[in-house]
Symmetry: C2
Subunit: 142 residues, 2 copies
DNA sequence: TATTGTTATACTCTATAACTATA
DNA sequence: TATAGTTATAGAGTATAACAATA
């Protein structure tokens, strides 16, 4: 039986395995950055998700974080008690509450985003051409 | 002043920003897979780190997980009480304890690895050529 | 009736500090 | 003295189930 050596059957397993490795390596990055601003990893993640002037409903936060809705209550409580975010009423549906970032929150958010965006060693060591190619592929995958 | 439009100054920020987006998206993947085998995310991660016949010292686990050594005690306690791993003495230095995976642990580990390795939608949708290129670039970055 | 967010509960993760046993 | 791992403690994250307000 012939084996096609040049192109083994693959639905993306190998590409994903390599990305997964990177993901696992980077798993301690968010906690590390969060610690520099005295936030927990999830709190940091929520702040990052809240673009200024773009309030997000609690339910959607739970979805994005992949956690139970009841947790969001506590996470938002703690961020709100530090004045970084604010709960607001959403127009139509009076059951829905949205979370908006405050001025203080936005300032801290900029610090967080800047630190998270600092590319790790592995990326910096790539050739400019590989980086461009990587950008093209990942942009297309959005 | 001339601006080089084709190649803006960049130490990998954009490539990293795109990867970071993907990684943040994938952040709920480990918890999801962990839940299917009734483990916590860290417990799942530890099991994944423990290749059969390759015991790992507690201290190195703490390092890899990016957490305090005292946490590893509890995490290892819970995995050990379920018979998935075993603490053993390390040869030379009698202060060091290594963690080895059991037969039961190895069986569960295979399930975990198989589920984690299932590539997500974004990867599957890439063209075979893009996937090959991605593999090449990421492999080189190891 | 179904849905959004909250509360109560129980367990896990986390860092800090103090401890033990080795080195 | 320094290091590897443990214990105690306190705060945060997590899921489940029961609940209030609204749809």
């Amino acid at each position: 039986m012939m084996r096609r050596v040049e192109e083994p059957p693959d639905r993306g397993e190998r590409a994903w395995a390599l990305l997964l490795e990177l993901l696992m390596d980077m798993r301690s990055r968010l906690p590390a950055v969060a610690a520099t601003v005295e936030l927990s990893p999830v709190q940091c993640q929520v702040l990052r998700l809240l673009e200024p002037s773009r309030p997000v409903p609690m339910g959607r936060l739970a979805e994005t974080l992949g956690c139970n809705a009841s947790n969001v209550t506590g996470i938002v409580d703690r961020l709100e008690s530090r004045g970084l975010i604010r709960r607001e009423q959403s127009g139509r549906d009076r059951r829905v509450r949205v979370v908006a970032i405050t001025a203080d929150g936005a300032r801290l958010r900029r610090v967080i985003v800047r630190r998270l965006n600092e590319p790790p060693e592995k990326i910096r060591q790539m050739s400019p051409e590989d980086r461009r190619t990587l950008c093209r592929i990942l942009s297309a995958a959005e």
